[in-house]
């Protein structure tokens, strides 16, 4: 077992950990707002549920990055031996998803809470309400993309 594996695993863990924590905070926040709306009008349940789930995707992306890192570094079967240099590369590759996942989930939750308020007052504006939190998610998706491409790139290196 080498130091490289330690760094790579640290990156994988961070991406699941930070993005997951951000999503948990975000979904919790939005859930409170959603529950408040449903006490007033239970028929809005399915709409506010969708809005509540929007900040939850970062956690999934974090898991995804963690998983492809784990398979690539051989933690899940195979030999887990790599240079410090390569381990640090994996670590860096995981960072965008970890950090952006955490921050964007929380920011997206703020937008989702406001969107839930919008739907409570004007249920027919659901389509627009959904777009505001989705705008925030763009940056999580970009981070996801960079992380994925980096990991694939790093694993292709010798």
């Amino acid at each position: 077992m080498s130091m490289g594996t330690v760094w790579a695993l640290l990156g994988a863990a961070l991406s699941a950990l930070l993005a997951g924590a951000g999503s948990a905070i975000g979904v919790g926040k939005a859930g409170q707002a959603a529950a408040g709306v449903v006490t007033e009008d239970p028929s809005l349940f399915s709409k506010v549920l969708i809005l509540q789930l929007l900040p939850g995707t970062q956690g999934i992306y974090g898991l995804l990055i963690a998983f492809i890192t784990l398979t690539n570094i051989g933690i899940m079967g195979g030999s887990a031996d790599m240079s410090l240099h390569k381990g640090l590369l994996y670590f860096a590759a995981c960072l965008p998803m970890a950090v952006v996942g955490l921050i964007s989930a929380i920011c997206q939750a703020n937008a989702a809470v406001s969107a839930i308020g919008l739907v409570a007052k004007k249920p027919d504006q659901f389509g627009k309400a959904m777009i505001f939190p989705a705008m925030v998610e763009t940056y999580a998706i970009l981070a996801l993309l960079v992380s994925i491409l980096s990991i694939f790139g790093v694993s292709a290196l010798a």
Binding site: I68, G127, I141, L145
Partner: protein, 686 residues
Amino acid sequence: MAVMPMKRMTLIAMRRDRKELLQFLQRQGTTEIDTDVADDGIYKKIDVSSQKQIFLKNIKQAEDALDILNKVAPEKKSLLSSLAGREIISLKDFEKDLGRRNEIMSVISKINSLYKENLELIAQIPKDEMDREALVPWEGFDLPLDFSGTEKTKAFIGTLPGDLSAEDIYLTLGMLFKEADRVDVEIISKSNQYTAVMFVTGNENAEELNDVLHRMNFTKAPSQAVTDSDGTSLTPAKAIERIDAETARKAARRKQIISDITDLAADRHDIELIRDYFTMRKDKYDVIGSINQSDHVVIITGYVAAEDVPKLEAALNNRFDLACDFSEPSDDEDVPVKLKNNAFASPVEGVIASYSLPGKGEVDPSMAVAVFYYFFFGLMLSDAAYGIIIAVACGILLKKFKNMETGLKKTLQMFFYCGVATTIVGFIFGSFFGDVVSSVAQTFFHVPEATANKLLPPIWFNPLDDPIKMLTFCFAVGLIHLFTGLGILMYQDIKNGHVLDAIYDGLFWYMFVGGCVLLLLCLPMITGMLGLSFTLGPTVKNVSICIALIGFAGVVLFSGRESRNWGKRLAKGLYGAYGITSYLSDVLSYSRLLALGLATSVISSVFNTMAGMVGGAVPVVIGVVLYAVIFIIGHILNMAINALGAYVHTNRLQYVEFFGKFYNGGGRPFEAFDQKTKYIRIKEDI
């Protein structure tokens, strides 16, 4: 693919026909009624608020009765019954059912009054319980509690705080009262909180004893609710008996009420009908109150779709004595918008309506939106199995509930097409429950990994193997999407006669952006980055530079053309050309197609790997079961979360990137004067 052309309708009819006429229009549901004819002394509006009040009251009563029925005798409904839509009923049956109107109204008021009685009985329960509670300490006492003494004696019946014996009471009494020995104390019952006592003394000592007892915190026994109907007092035991009997009677009555209401539930259908009947009458009176009427004539104006005109005109002339006129609306009118599309494009009308309907001069983008919507959804969910599940589920529901309400039907149709697209995309990129075929083959049939991966080969390529290729493909798709938007903008301008605008805002941008893209493809660095196998040659490079420069010049010169001052105009033009960066960010935004597509397949394979690790570690029989459990839970979760993501981000790509290029919206939706009912829909053929 069209916004339906509208005609301005003016009906001049006999006043005596107005109700029939409006009912007819309401059942047809093809007109929007608005009235702006001036109040000029001959024609005036009439006040219908009192009739409306009655209808609203009746609606409220019917709804209350239905609420009660739902509480007391809930209808057995399957989970999917909400998809069934309103019951369709012929005009003849409707009128026949309305013959029982008065009868049904009396059923409604009976249900309401029975339930009110039930609530009143429930409200009495706590009081009865308290009365009984207060009598319990006195249960063994053989005199009525309002017994006040004989001719020569006075009796005080009540409780003292605390658990006291006769000695304790005499002791306290002796300290406070000189003639304590002339008082008779009888303890009736006690608990650790109180002692129930009767004091008897001669009339001469009564007043003083009263004061003394007051100082000992004596509380008189409750004497209410203990007299019989003829005024004679009852002993506590008898009184308790009577309260119990009364409680039992009330409980029986409540049971009776509930069963009576349950019996009346047979009329539920008729009550629903009545509710809808009054709703329609209320809507009709809203219109009656808004139109102009003279002593003999009414004028009704509004909009109707041009294609509905011939049928409507013929039917109106057939049934009523009236004059009708259908004319082109004038240019400054705020004409309502109604969309009409073929079966492929109409499901996304809801997506467009929830952004905004096309404004003046804009075309209906449904067809373009539909094509890209289904395709993007498919790319983002990108799993053949998930697509099949969605398409089959929507297909079955659509087949089973033919009478579904339009909005819901369109949504399900939309997901049906999305499911079909997902299936196709899934096979193209080789994803069926992720890599389940390979995973099962390796776990249970011990096929070597390399062979297993070839069992279900992708038709094109697997994005997991070559994400860069997929990314390039997504950018290309995005560019096509954006250019389609630009194309619609040009079409719109040409259609409205602004050919020059089409060139300035459309063609120059095509040249500018298209030239830049071609130029990029000539640079080996870029083609290398995008993983393309070709690099365009120097000839193309020179041509593309020319095209881009012409486009750039056009944009700089003409995007600020509303300014007269040339300095200002050029400054605005340069700023306009800076908009090329928005094309860059728009195109990059389509990388979400790749990211979300990868998310689905990677998470699928996470679950398949987990299932394979668990299922492969134990004997085959148990292994299959464990594999199935992990597989089902994992894929349900993955499908739900990724379908949500695909839906949200498909909308976003349409609303932000696509509509941003050409679409403003702002059209006013066509508000038909129709049956805004909840349970039934009257069908009348003309």
